[in-house]
Symmetry: C2
Subunit: 444 residues, 2 copies
């Protein structure tokens, strides 16, 4: 064919082969089941929205990264770049159907025309969950409980949910008479683990315009360490003269009290985390894997005063977090927590004789009725080729029925890990497959 | 705020409220688990592709419906309008990593700028599964087995998979010396159930240019009825002089033999179904709900000679089908097969006293540890407001702990269907919730 098209994908976009797609489906399944266990229900929103909706509160950066175009009807439209803006629009639009509090999760693809040189993709999956319409710290604790259960359920043994409250820093800035917004201060503080106290102090003075004394107090604050109780007591002293600061400390006290009551053992107070420059107004979360600290936070979020002020006059406070799906998948692979090389169906029924296609179909159907997941090889290729296929695909067991076996109403069941092969009566095929899959003892 | 943006979605696009999203997630979960039971693994492809990839073999209609634009890098790109073209590109691109046969499923969103006046959406979900790299009729039977198990698993009791083979009609046209392609003939035949034999005959003569004799023979063929065996015998006589026709009948014989062996009871030969004008080359499927015949086929597909000829010189035959997710969801709702009004978490723990937030968190955690899915109401609103919320959300059980209950380490468990309330010891709360959820007898 002269006009063949070269198969290729766009820069920053990618296919998932089955092994990667199996791992992603597993992660999403676990996330959804944990969200539901805490009363969060799913929603869906369109991938494409009016551009003015998506840019409602948008930064210049979001604007630059937008996949934006004019549709056939002349509308200015764009692909969503996160799930938070669509949530705000959704809640404003359906406020009266939803009722409050509204607890939703949303697993969806988002698109950003990011610089791919940093190894970033332009299309990726997000999984967000939020509780909207309440200011109760109970909802903050439940958010942490979801993260805790989710990470445990994914098989991570060592992880830390770092918790802070934006009001504490705001209270400190208030006391120090530093003019808000505190964006430049937060931006400098975020660099503390990377560039150290001295460089941050310099930035606070040079960029944020603080005095050396103010910078020193903020660093004392950011470097506070010790038990949660000790740090809370220290914070209380530091912000005692600010109502905002006291309220932040009080929220932290109630948060850690609630987390202890709920058995959420992975939370830890860390006054250095800032999370989000202008968006969050109370509790903030970042979640780190203790065994892979360098990959950064895998689940972040926090409390906000008002979700949807751009779209509605109703004030909608809430709290939520967002899972870094692809980052977690990389971690799961690196820590070997999922055998994604395993076949989706562990049993392969080999095809020995094309004229016996229907007989093979009947065998596969019998095994499936016994509860097994079974792939039936469709062609009567050489057995060695079929077993090579099983090996590549990660099948655990092969069922092989040749002329002798049809004669005698038996079948060979081959354990593809040990190589051992057993001949059993046809009625016993399913049992023998189940025995191998469950790691039971060999029949004597 | 002066610059508020009115919350709205694009024409042809829609949000899913939680009850609709729960139903869709359930359908997709069932579909994926059946696909896997038959050895199909998941894949993902980008939503956005180069336009020349998507139009590789595209019709003018596909072109017109495309969401197409120039990205920030000057590339001509478009949103995918189905999952078949991306599959062809994917298989051509990854042929050597995949190996054959390759069995994949793909659940994904597609976009078409269709006329919304016919009640069509411009964004919808598809669920496709295909077996590529084999010409074996065994794979055709397995395709029907997947559809059969999928519809049963979704709770449909009465449905029919109508099966035909394109080679039979092609053989008949060959014998009648009707020039191919047979598109106009197929298009006329597809209208048989709607406009009747006489009108179809007229169209065959006027539009397709057949003689009255040819039209009569084709109608005799299309109206053949009776047992599968009888019809097959009739077809065999009708196309005896055409090699293509005989091969089609032979494939049908082997298909129905295999389906019987595999216990696929819902298949039925229907020589009138044509399915796809040029794409399919052998077996074709359409699936109808016997109780809702008017909604049309809910799962259609068939066998093709060559999936990816536009992208690769390898010939890749295969067979597959595509679920009409939204059509099935409408059917599930209409037949009342899913209680989508039920809460994702059946138990609501009410909040009686904001100062006891941590105690309530502890109760919710205890119930969850007992295996229950539990929503904790975050605010100490009036109990009547919380019970109204539970009613709207579809909770089944409310756990209420007031001052008396904290005193005595007890709790009220309220059955929200019967209205009955039982006071039990705190340690017995989970057991009482489980009893109500499982419909067990009341304690005496």
């Amino acid at each position: 064919m002269a006009d063949r098209v070269r198969p290729r994908t766009l820069k920053g976009f990618r296919d998932l082969l089955p092994s990667a797609a199996v791992a992603r489906e597993h992660l999403v399944d676990v996330a959804r089941s944990v969200f539901r266990r805490y009363g969060f229900g799913p929603i869906e929103t369109p991938a494409l929205e009016y551009t003015d909706i998506l840019l409602g509160k948008g930064s210049d950066e979001a604007d630059r990264q937008l996949y934006r175009f004019e549709d056939a009807g002349g509308r200015d439209v764009a692909l969503r770049f996160d799930l938070t803006v669509p949530l705000a629009r959704y809640v404003a639009e359906h406020e009266h159907e939803l009722g409050m509090p509204f607890k939703r999760y949303h697993v969806g693809t988002v698109w950003r025309g990011e610089n791919t040189q940093r190894g970033r993709y332009r299309e990726f999956l997000q999984a967000d969950f939020d509780t909207i319409g309440t200011e109760s710290v109970v909802a903050d604790v439940e958010t942490a409980a979801v993260i805790d259960e989710l990470f445990s359920s994914l098989g991570f043994e060592r992880f830390t949910i770092k918790v802070n409250n934006r009001k504490v820093l705001n209270g400190l800035l208030e006391r120090l008479d530093v003019a808000r917004p505190s964006t430049t201060v937060l931006r400098a503080l975020d660099k503390l683990p990377k560039i150290g106290a001295q460089a941050v102090s310099a930035e606070l003075v040079d960029v944020a315009g603080l005095t050396a004394g103010q910078a020193a107090e903020i660093l004392t604050f950011a470097e506070m360490a010790g038990s949660t109780g000790d740090v809370l007591a220290g914070l209380e002293r530091l912000v005692a003269s600010s109502a905002t600061g006291r309220s932040g400390v009080d929220e932290l006290v109630r948060f850690f009290d609630g987390a202890a009551a709920g058995g959420v053992a992975s939370v830890e107070l860390d006054v250095a985390i800032a999370r989000g420059l202008d968006y969050y107004t109370g509790t903030v979360f970042e979640t780190y894997l203790d065994d892979l600290p360098d990959i950064g936070s895998c689940c972040s979020g926090g409390r906000y005063d008002d979700l949807a002020g751009v779209y509605t006059k109703s004030r909608l406070p809430g709290v939520g977090a967002s899972l870094g799906v692809d980052r977690l998948l990389a971690a799961i692979a690196e820590l070997g927590l999922l055998d994604s090389a395993a076949a989706v169906s562990p049993v392969l029924v080999a095809m020995f004789d094309a004229d016996r296609g229907s007989d093979h179909i009947a065998v596969a159907a019998e095994l499936r009725r016994a509860g097994l997941s079974v792939e039936l090889y469709p062609d009567a290729r050489k057995l060695s080729a079929q077993l090579r296929y099983a090996d590549q695909r990660g099948h655990r067991v092969a069922v092989i029925i040749g002329p002798d076996e049809w004669e005698t109403a038996t079948g060979q069941v081959k354990d593809l890990v040990t190589g051992a092969s057993t001949r059993v009566a046809r009625a016993a095929l399913a049992g023998e497959c189940l025995r191998i899959l469950s790691g039971g003892p060999a029949p004597t």
